[in-house]
């Protein structure tokens, strides 16, 4: 091999146009050095995944070329990409849940004997696991594994196929902070072996920890490539969004009032009939934001659906002010003053109906929208125009089907729906999942201003940054119980708080723990 800092992949003027003329990548050029972790940073729709799919042979570029190890290559399919030593861990894992780990790892892999393949496969997996610290049981079935373990299986798949370059598409979006740390260790280990990682993300907080160099993409173009340490978060954020935005939220220290929502020993069954929420108690006070932190699938959905009246609890009570609203219908709960923003936006919106129709969906029964048996469509339209202006919904066309809106705008529609009735308590579940920075910022600021108006907010989110940025109190939900609670200190959250909460999300109670039942 020649010199040490050699560029293993060079993107040269890569251009990709999706019909009907959407420019996903516009003359993207940058180089990736061998044996580094190269971060590709950008918002949703910036073209990161498209570019990686081109490198992995899923898409063909309409212009430009990929130079691999100094030679221009054409990568017509993932199979060729694998032969060239490129591996990819997709954001949504490509594993077969009913198969075991080793079966998934060797699927489509030629160098396994036909007779007793398991023996050889197990051995190969163990060797690789040891070498890179990818801890996973070869005989476990994939559906039994946590997201972090599944990701390790995907990395094993790539490493077994002798990947020199590993593409990781938003690898941290489903991980606990603990799993993120482990992933970073694996990447470090791969670096020592001279392997190269391409790390795709939209979270700039991760960038400093792992990236050797950072390339920022915006609207399909390269904004710039910077080495680690040469750009702070503000600069990176500005590069991503194209304008200077204030990252810190105007979070005020407010003293919460009396309890608005009280949950007492709540038990809720999940879809399979097992208890998803197991004896949870807490309260949300006037003008308080309570964050429920936790990795997806630890009872968040069951909890919020029980609060919203969508899933009757099997035990326990839900009190709204002094009123017992346990097992009320969604509509009655809403009329009692609790608004619910579900994580699955399809639950709140009807994609094939218009913006105007969706905006009055939750109030269609009431005046002024209803006149006897008729709908007053003039009022509906007026209301839609008002909401579109208030929540700055784009495009501002009341007759547009909602499915044509972007995620951020859909979320604004949902907030407009639920806030029309001036709720006292707002229960929101992953409100900014999949949204870009500007939409996220808009929603966060909206929550803070609602808090100042005295609304009590229960914020359920898998994104710890979001929880910490907004919450006055944080409860950690783990396997259906509250594992611990933290209050926001006067001085704001410390690194220690953050680490403790992260530990609890992984099931380990922190040392300064305040146990709640």
């Amino acid at each position: 091999m020649s010199c040490e800092r050699q560029e293993i992949v060079v993107f040269r003027d890569i251009t990709k146009i999706f019909p009907p003329g959407i420019l996903a990548n516009d003359r993207v050029s940058f180089g990736v050095e061998r044996g580094t972790v190269h971060v590709l940073l950008g918002e949703n729709g910036a073209g990161k995944t498209t570019l990686m799919n081109i490198l992995y042979g899923i898409h063909q570029p309409d212009g430009g070329a990929i130079v691999l190890r100094g030679k221009e290559v054409r990568i017509p399919s993932p199979r060729v990409a694998i032969e060239l030593g490129i591996g990819m861990v997709h954001q949504h894992f490509r594993l077969i849940p009913n198969h075991t780990v080793w079966e998934n790892v060797v699927l489509g892999f030629p160098r396994v004997p036909h007779l007793f393949p398991a023996l050889r496969a197990r051995q190969m997996i163990r060797n690789l696991s040891r070498e890179y610290g990818l801890d996973v049981d070869p005989d476990a079935r994939v559906w039994q594994l946590s997201a972090g373990e599944q990701q390790r299986v995907e990395i094993l798949k790539a490493l077994l196929r002798k990947a020199e370059i590993l593409i990781l598409d938003e690898p941290t979006s489903v991980l606990t902070p603990k799993d993120v740390e482990r992933l970073f260790l694996v990447l470090q280990r791969m670096k020592e072996e001279g392997k190269t990682s391409l790390f795709v993300t939209h979270k700039f907080s991760e960038v400093g920890e792992i990236g050797d160099r950072i390339t920022v993409l915006r609207k399909g173009r390269v904004v710039g490539t910077v080495p680690r340490g040469e750009a702070d978060f503000e600069t990176l954020a500005a590069m991503m969004v194209g304008e200077k935005i204030a990252l810190s939220l105007p979070k005020k220290a407010l003293s919460p009032g009396c309890p608005l929502l009280r949950v007492e020993d709540l038990w809720v069954l999940d879809d399979r009939g097992f208890p998803g929420v197991r004896g949870v108690s807490f309260e949300v006070r006037e003008g308080e934001i309570v964050g429920i932190a936790g990795v997806v699938g630890n009872g968040q959905r069951e909890l919020t659906e029980a609060l919203a009246g969508l899933r009757p609890p099997s035990r326990g009570r839900i009190l709204l002010g002094e009123v017992d609203v346990t097992a009320w219908s969604p509509q009655k709960v809403r009329e009692a003053g609790l608004a619910y923003v579900p994580e699955d936006r399809r639950m709140a919106l009807v994609g094939d109906m218009t913006l105007a129709e969706n905006l009055f969906l939750r109030d269609y029964r009431k005046a002024p929208f209803r006149r006897g048996i008729l709908v007053d469509w003039n009022k509906v339209r007026e209301h839609a125009e008002e909401m579109i202006a208030t929540y700055r919904i784009v495009p501002p066309v009341p007759q547009l089907p909602v499915r044509l809106l972007s995620g951020g705008n859909r979320q604004r529609v949902i907030l407009a729906q639920v806030l029309t009735s001036r709720p006292r308590v707002l229960v929101v579940s992953n409100p900014t999942a999949g949204l870009d920075i500007l939409a996220t910022d808009f929603i966060h600021r909206l929550f803070l201003s609602l808090q100042e108006e005295g609304v009590g907010i229960l914020l359920v989110s898998g994104d710890l940054d979001e929880i910490l940025a907004l919450s006055d109190r944080v409860l950690v939900l783990y396997r259906g119980t509250i594992l611990g609670e933290r209050k926001r200190p006067q001085s704001g959250w410390s690194e220690e708080d953050r680490r403790d909460i992260g530990m609890m999300m992984g099931g380990v109670p922190g040392e300064r723990l305040v146990m709640v039942r």
Binding site: A24, Q331, M347, V350, D352, R362, Y364, R370
Partner: protein, 370 residues
């Protein structure tokens, strides 16, 4: 370099687009049908001429078309409402027969004064079909049985019920062994328009039904509720819309309208209850297509019902003129449906020819951005 078809998704097809594509697919169906006639040894041009004559060529032909359009339009409007709620009522055939049975009972066996016969026939016929439909709604709401299965199966129950009645207890005393009931008294006949066989009352009712169903869907709170249920059941639940009640009411209405169409056939055309295949000619099934072609718009149903009425009467003329077996008509209908359904893709996707470099992968145009 070579040519490649490129498929891109369209956002919303315009109304003129829908019309243009539908017309084009009908044209293609006729062209391919022409081949069929060539195989049968009939000149395609001659066949087209006979078809045209039979469907529109004379006042009589036009009246035959309208006669068939009426039940299609009445049932189709009800089904349009039901499809808007994503309630897949494919039991209109049976609901229609139940209407015919109830109407026949009133006409032949009820002790009502003659002047009341017709109104009561229609009211009870509506209720009969409506309850037949509501039974499927009950099965879905209470027992979680898919309404497609129940409505379909209830068609056979209704058809066999008709057979039982005309062969057994209701078999006419004056019909010399034929399998139908005695004719209705004159007071239970609908007046026809002039010398045609088109009943005036049901002809007007078809237009009123379409307007009513349109109004229901577009202007009323209930119409809004049922459209939400049809497009997003989860969202409907969260908004507090009683989906079960919507399902029940929709099956009640569409079943009832089919029942009225059934009464219209026995009192306006046949004046007796007879074999199910004679009463209905498959109207209940064809109306599904009628509603579907109209994209579940009750006003559009008027147009598509007319179109299918014309197809039916034109084919009747073909059958008589050339003595071809009636099964051939199924092939013709199949071709029309094939092209109409296939053309759906053209409404939602734009297909263009483009020059592609060698070695390009086939499937990449189906992929979405990020």
């Amino acid at each position: 370099m070579r040519l490649r078809l490129q498929v891109t998704r369209r956002l919303e097809p315009s109304a003129s687009m829908v019309f243009f594509v539908s017309a084009l697919s009908l044209l293609l169906a006729f062209l391919v049908s022409g081949l069929l006639f060539v195989f049968l040894g009939i000149s395609p041009l001659e066949a087209y001429r006979v078809f045209w004559q039979g469907a529109f060529g004379s006042l009589y032909a036009l009246s035959e078309t309208v006669k068939r359009m009426i039940p299609l339009a009445i049932i189709g409007a009800g089904l349009a409402v039901s499809f808007q709620a994503s309630v897949w009522n494919i039991g209109a055939e049976g609901q229609m027969l139940i209407g015919a049975i109830v109407g026949t009972w009133v006409a032949l066996f009820s002790p009502l004064p003659p002047s009341l016969l017709l109104p009561v026939m229609f009211v009870l016929g509506f209720l009969g079909g409506a309850l037949w439909g509501t039974f499927a709604a009950w099965c879905r709401n209470r027992l979680a049985i898919n309404e497609i299965i129940t409505t379909l199966m209830l068609n056979y129950v209704a058809a066999n019920l008709v057979l039982y009645l005309i062969l057994g207890p209701w078999k006419g005393k004056t019909v010399r062994g034929f399998a139908y009931t005695d004719p209705f008294p004159q007071e239970a006949w609908l007046t026809t328009i002039g010398t045609t066989r088109v009943p005036l009352a049901t002809f007007l009712f078809a237009f009123l039904t379409a307007l009513f169903c349109y109004f229901l869907l577009a202007k009323t709170t209930f119409g809004f509720e049922l459209r939400v249920v049809g497009r997003g059941e989860k969202a409907a639940h969260l908004a507090g819309i009683p989906a079960k009640r919507v399902v029940a009411l929709v099956l009640f209405l569409s079943g009832g309208l089919a029942g009225i169409a059934g009464v219209g056939e026995v009192s306006g055309i046949h004046h007796m209850l007879r074999h199910p295949a004679h009463i209905s000619l498959g109207y209940g099934f064809t109306a599904i297509i009628v509603a579907w072609i109209a994209r579940a718009n009750p006003l559009g149903v008027l147009a598509s019902a007319f179109l299918f009425g014309a197809l039916m009467s034109g084919q009747d003329a073909l059958k008589v003129a050339f003595g071809i077996p009636f099964q051939v008509m199924y092939i013709l209908n199949g071709l029309v449906l094939f092209f109409l359904i296939a053309s759906e893709q053209l409404l939602y996707y734009r297909v263009t020819l483009r020059v592609a470099p060698w070695g390009e992968k086939e499937d990449e145009y189906d992929r979405v951005l990020d």
